[in-house]
């Protein structure tokens, strides 16, 4: 049954950083800003590693699409315990889900995973599209926003997924695409020994061109604005005033 799991990961601005819009209003300031692995992707890597530790998976491969700097994100995943890392080098400010999904499609055909775990969305664009598009391209079943996953010999994959009205339980046959939500797990720290090991591991390199994928963006960012500053509240002295203010607003 031993699965080969592919976990696509993305390098994004660290979740804790206070972001600033670039002066040209076409993007977010990234110069000298702390970058880290997308938190939901970290959760996906963690789940893949747990499946490996349970004996359900035999290999965890991570892949990323982006500039040279993304290699450090791959190293973090290797330091957590991933077995293989693939870097699809693409130097561009804008990398869209459709491009990434196309790349992952080609990678999947080449490396033949039977389970793909992604973060549900990236915290920079919040698109929440890559996993779903990839499943469509591969014609595999998809389970999104998972908060629990178990692999069963007969039933395939059993998941609980988060919905607005509660938790939904589904079974999917393998191979499948799953996207991970916040409550699935708490990612581990990278241990010293594994960090040292990861430094020496080889990262496989390729490009979208080699894979035959056109990464030209289909969308143009016209402008980005900060949300309006929060105004102070106003104290009122009576219920009538409250009503008047609500009516006036």
């Amino acid at each position: 049954m031993a699965l080969r799991i592919l976990v696509p990961i993305k390098r994004v601005i660290d979740y804790a950083v206070k972001i600033r819009v670039r002066p040209d209003k076409r993007g977010i300031e990234t110069a000298n800003v702390k970058m880290s692995m997308n938190p939901f992707d970290e959760i996906a890597v963690e789940e893949a590693l747990r499946l490996k530790e349970k004996g359900v998976a035999k290999e965890v491969m991570v892949v990323t699409v982006g500039s040279k700097a993304c290699q450090e994100t791959l190293r973090t995943a290797l330091a957590m315990g991933a077995d293989q890392a693939i870097h699809v080098e693409h130097d561009s400010d804008v990398i869209e889900p459709i491009g990434v999904a196309s790349v992952l499609h080609k990678i999947s055909l080449k490396h033949t995973p039977n389970l793909i775990l992604l973060g549900k969305q990236a915290i920079d664009d919040d698109c929440n599209q890559t996993g779903q598009m990839l499943a469509g391209m591969l014609k595999w079943p998809q389970g999104t926003f998972i908060s629990k996953v178990t692999v069963d010999k007969e039933k395939g994959v059993e998941i609980d997924r988060e919905t607005d009205s509660g938790s939904e339980s589904l079974s999917l046959s393998l191979p499948a695409v799953l996207t991970c939500d916040l409550r699935l797990n708490e990612p581990r720290y990278a241990k010293l020994q594994n960090i040292m090991k990861a430094k020496k591991m080889e990262v496989q390199k390729t490009t979208p061109q080699e894979l035959g994928v056109d990464m030209t963006p289909r969308l143009e960012i016209v402008h980005i604005n900060e949300p309006p500053k929060r105004e102070g509240g106003v104290k009122v002295k009576s219920v009538d005033e409250v009503v008047a203010k609500i009516k006036g607003a």
Binding site: Y189, A190, L192
Partner: protein
């Protein structure tokens, strides 16, 4: 109560009330302290006067409202003040102190009230002078990094403000969300960055303070170098309110690091911690910004009281935390990687983890910074902030535990990089027996090593 032939009711009243105010601390010390009769008591006239010079809400006399001013953070020391004052300007403080001076009213200045040794609350009925509303940040000099602000600015607020200009506060401590810069300066707070930026003596450029008689002492210089006259600010730094109330501070602040790394390690003995410290100083050099240590018992308390999670997968006898701060991510990473490789190869550490994002870094720091909170939840705690030569740094914990047997748990944590250990003894409840085992032995031990009982 004894009868007294007097020439007026005032004398009897004073003796009566003195007895009522007699307070003995059965919590941490068994020394009974008597209120000094030379100090007057607050009257309605005093309250009226305070109300006339302060704004609405500046005079607090309600018993329930006073509770938080009268009680320290640890809930261990309880004062009995009848009034707390909240001025907004130096002039108001000057008027208050002038009045109290003329009336012989005792005053206790209070900042964030986060101190752990009972220094910020009244012993008896002293007037509480709260600096909380003196919270204006007046100026940040963009090119020099010098900030001028009132004493009541919360440390974390000051740091956030400075971040906009690319600077950071030179002191950092677990209480940063509540402690105030004036309090930090009056107590010469050390904190976790002393290793890198030095103490407040090195970073405070000027002070404005109000003396007991109301005189405003303006020493608020922003100059990096000034050798004219006696450098009085150094006497005020660490004077704990005994010389005057600090009202404004000008502080030199370092550039905010753009590259920060945090890691935690487990060792099998304290000697390894010292070896790692030596290596960190040499191999990380100028980017080392913190080196904190904690022992197994401290980690157990933190985990048991749910304040933070243990980042390492197994238990170790000793832990230390390293932080690097620098201006070049690649340069810092290269230095850190080499340091990690070396300590692993030399078997100085048994295990370690490195934070891969800001959230993990904050979580690792939480382990060290929430120890006081966890200890408070665990029961009674006796705290000692000691400076000792590194050879005896952890010995004090071991020796104390031997003396205590199974009556209490002795643990140590703190700024090993500065030779400053926080010796803490945790027990289910306070007792004279435990107190007598600890004191005066701990002071004698420290004195023998030529250390300090208040680091």
């Amino acid at each position: 109560m004894f009868s007294l032939k007097s020439n007026g009711t005032t004398i009897i009243k004073r003796i009566l009330t003195t007895k009522i105010l007699f307070k003995s601390y059965s919590t941490s010390s068994n020394v009974t302290v008597t209120r000094n009769d030379k100090y007057s008591q607050v009257t309605e006239e005093d309250i009226s006067y305070f109300k006339s010079i302060l704004e609405e809400g500046g005079v607090i006399t309600d018993k329930d409202d006073l509770r938080m001013y009268n009680t320290d953070w640890m809930n261990k020391y309880k004062g009995n003040s009848k009034v707390a004052l909240r001025p907004k300007t130096t002039e108001q403080i000057s008027a208050i102190l002038k009045h109290c001076h003329s009336r012989s009213l005792a005053v206790v200045p209070q900042g964030g009230n986060t101190g752990l040794v009972g220094g910020s609350v009244p012993v008896f009925d002293e007037v509480i002078l709260s600096l909380g509303l003196m919270n204006k940040i007046e100026k940040v000099d963009q090119s020099s990094g010098v900030v001028t602000c009132q004493a009541g600015v919360v440390l974390e607020t000051l740091d956030h403000h400075l971040s906009r200009f690319g600077y950071t506060v030179p002191v950092d401590l677990g209480a940063k969300g509540s402690c105030q810069i004036g309090g930090n300066v009056s107590t010469n707070a050390g904190g976790i960055r002393l290793l890198r930026y030095g103490s407040l003596h090195a970073n405070v450029l000027g002070i404005e303070a109000v003396l007991a008689d109301g005189t405003v002492l303006d020493n608020l210089s922003c100059l990096r170098k000034d050798n004219t006259g006696y450098d009085m600010k150094h006497v005020f730094i660490g004077s704990e309110g005994s010389l005057g109330v600090i009202t404004r501070v000008s502080l030199l602040t370092p550039p905010r690091p753009t590259s920060v790394n945090v890691a935690m390690f487990g060792c099998k003995d304290f000697a390894s911690v010292l070896v790692a410290l030596q290596r960190a100083k040499t191999e990380l050099g100028e980017i080392l910004s913190a080196f904190e240590f904690l022992d197994r018992k401290s980690m157990d308390k933190v985990v048991a009281h749910g304040k933070a999670k243990d980042p390492l997968s197994e238990s170790h006898d000793f832990y230390f935390l390293i932080e690097t701060s620098g201006s070049n991510k690649d340069h810092d990473k290269a230095k850190l990687d080499l340091f990690l490789e070396n300590i692993l190869a030399a078997e100085v550490v048994s295990d370690g983890v490195v934070a891969e994002n800001v959230t993990q870094a904050t979580d690792i720091w939480k382990v060290r910074e929430t120890i006081p909170e966890a200890l408070q939840k665990a029961g009674a705690v006796y705290k000692y902030d000691l400076s000792l030569p590194l050879s005896h740094f952890y010995k004090i914990v071991e020796v104390m535990q031997d003396r205590l047997g199974d009556k209490a748990t002795a643990m140590g944590y703190g700024h090993v990089g500065d030779g400053n250990v926080h010796l803490n003894i945790s027990a289910p409840s306070y007792s004279k027996e435990i107190y007598d085992i600890i004191e005066p032995f701990v002071y004698e031990y420290v004195a023998e090593q030529r250390g300090s009982i208040s680091a």
